[in-house]
């Protein structure tokens, strides 16, 4: 069962990643592209956290007085924890740029923006 779940985790990662990439390639709406980027990002988060898991382990918060407790790996968790907050900040920056594009061109569709031409 554990083995199946592991394979399933590893299969879900490319599916999530590629659904994000699909949005970035195929969608012309800039807003949608940004959502795609966010999906890609969280797929990578999931992969990292999957690798941090130790079978039969528990969260890396020490239990004083208890011997022989198996803890999951704290390092990937730290990396992803900070990456999530950085991710929302950079996504907000992208949203800011999209709002400005809308104000200047009246649209956020990539093809229409290109037609109107950069000044």
């Amino acid at each position: 069962m554990m083995e199946f779940l592991g394979l399933y985790h590893y299969l879900v990662f490319p599916l999530l990643l590629m659904s994000g990439i699909y949005a970035v390639i195929a969608k012309r709406n800039l807003f949608k592209k940004l959502i795609g980027l966010a999906l890609m990002q969280s797929a990578v988060f999931l992969l990292y956290i999957t690798m941090a898991k130790v079978e039969g382990g528990t969260g890396p918060i020490l239990k004083p007085g208890e011997e022989d407790v198996l803890y999951s790996n704290p390092l990937p968790e730290v990396l992803i924890l900070t990456a999530i907050v950085v991710g929302i900040s950079t996504a907000a920056l992208g949203l800011g740029i999209i709002v400005r594009i809308k104000e200047e061109f009246g649209t956020v569709e990539e093809d229409l923006v290109r037609e109107l031409g950069g000044r």
């Binding site: 999906l39 941090a52 390092l75 992803i80 929302i88």
Partner: protein, 330 residues
């Protein structure tokens, strides 16, 4: 144990379905709401994978603050996606090909939960063994975040700070021409004040959210939590206040000057701890020299830098929110 695994597999399936639906729908409002649900699902999944700290962050940031930001930007742009998809066959081809290749590649990964996987035998055992001796706090994630990888976290805090400054610059200028707006968030004076139920329920919740944020901040060494999570939770309680009472009142509560001070002050506080360590005769960001007892010094350093992280994250998230909310008044 068996039930947990079934639940986990179910959550993963739901995650894929939500992601595909969020990409497929052409109504952007629906898409944003689906990404909010996606964040909540992935947070539960992180929790099942023993990453309580990450789950807390994802729930506060992804499902809470991010959804508000996306909706705020959506109110200023268009709700419906107009152009049809382009390069569709190419994109689907890439989707299938890369999924197959990556799926095949992951067969070579160390098997799930294997305690002997390379990632578990490098520095992680050192962190787990030595933390009680070096700083005597139970939450290893906080110890790694604040002390072992303090430089890294300082860098992240400055990235967050820079993104906040960037949003201020981009949305701080006047638009060259008026464009039609499709909706409004937290419009000016009123907000949702004339809606009874959100107002009553929201008012009830805000103090508790704030209290929980402070608990997460100051209890981060002993339970899941820390500056990043607390910052997001505190910011979301103020954002809730702004949505209920109108943006003006929220700005009266925390004026822009104070926000700017918070944004810069937290990062500076973090850096100052590093410099204090240097003045006390240690290396930059070495907390052991801050007190007579190295363990006490480490704990003190961690407490102060976590406070710095929390202050900056709160400041930046609120600055970004106000930048979007104020946009409609230009």
């Amino acid at each position: 144990m068996f039930m947990t695994e079934i639940f986990s597999a179910f959550l993963l399936t739901l995650l894929v379905v939500t992601a595909l639906a969020a990409v497929k729908t052409r109504n952007l409002f629906v898409s944003v709401m689906l990404t909010g649900i996606y964040s909540l699902l992935i947070a539960i999944n992180f929790f099942l994978l023993d990453a309580a700290d990450v789950a807390l962050t994802e729930a506060a940031v992804g499902a809470g603050v991010a959804t508000v930001f996306f909706l705020g930007a959506l109110a200023l742009t268009a709700e419906q996606e107009r152009s049809p998809s382009a390069y569709r066959p190419v994109a689907i081809g890439i989707f299938i090909a890369v999924t197959l290749v990556l799926g095949y590649a992951t067969l070579g990964m160390p098997s799930y939960g294997d305690p002997d996987a390379p990632v578990h035998v490098h520095v992680a055992p050192f962190y787990l063994e030595k933390t009680p001796e070096f700083m005597d706090i139970p939450n290893i994630v906080t110890a790694v975040l604040g002390s072992y990888r303090g430089y890294d976290t300082l860098g992240e805090v400055f990235v967050v700070f820079t993104a906040g400054i960037g949003v201020m610059f981009i949305l701080g200028v006047r638009p060259s021409r008026k464009s039609e707006r499709t909706g409004m968030i937290a419009s000016g004076e009123n907000g949702l004040r004339h809606y009874l139920i959100p107002r009553v329920v929201g008012r009830l919740f805000i103090p508790f959210i704030l209290l929980f944020g402070l608990y997460v901040q100051f209890h981060g060494e002993y339970s899941p939590g820390g500056g990043f999570q607390a910052g997001a939770i505190i910011a979301s309680s103020i954002i809730l206040y702004a949505l209920l009472e109108g943006e003006e009142r929220a700005l009266r509560l925390i004026p822009r000057k104070v926000l700017n001070g918070l944004t810069a002050g937290g990062a500076l506080l973090y850096g100052a701890v590093g410099v204090a360590g240097m003045l006390a005769g240690g290396n930059f960001l070495d907390y052991s020299v801050l007190a007579d007892d190295p363990v006490k010094g480490q704990q003190m350093g961690l407490l102060v830098i976590e406070a710095g992280v929390g202050i900056t994250v709160t400041g930046v998230l609120l600055t970004i929110f106000h930048a979007f909310a104020a946009r409609e008044r230009f």
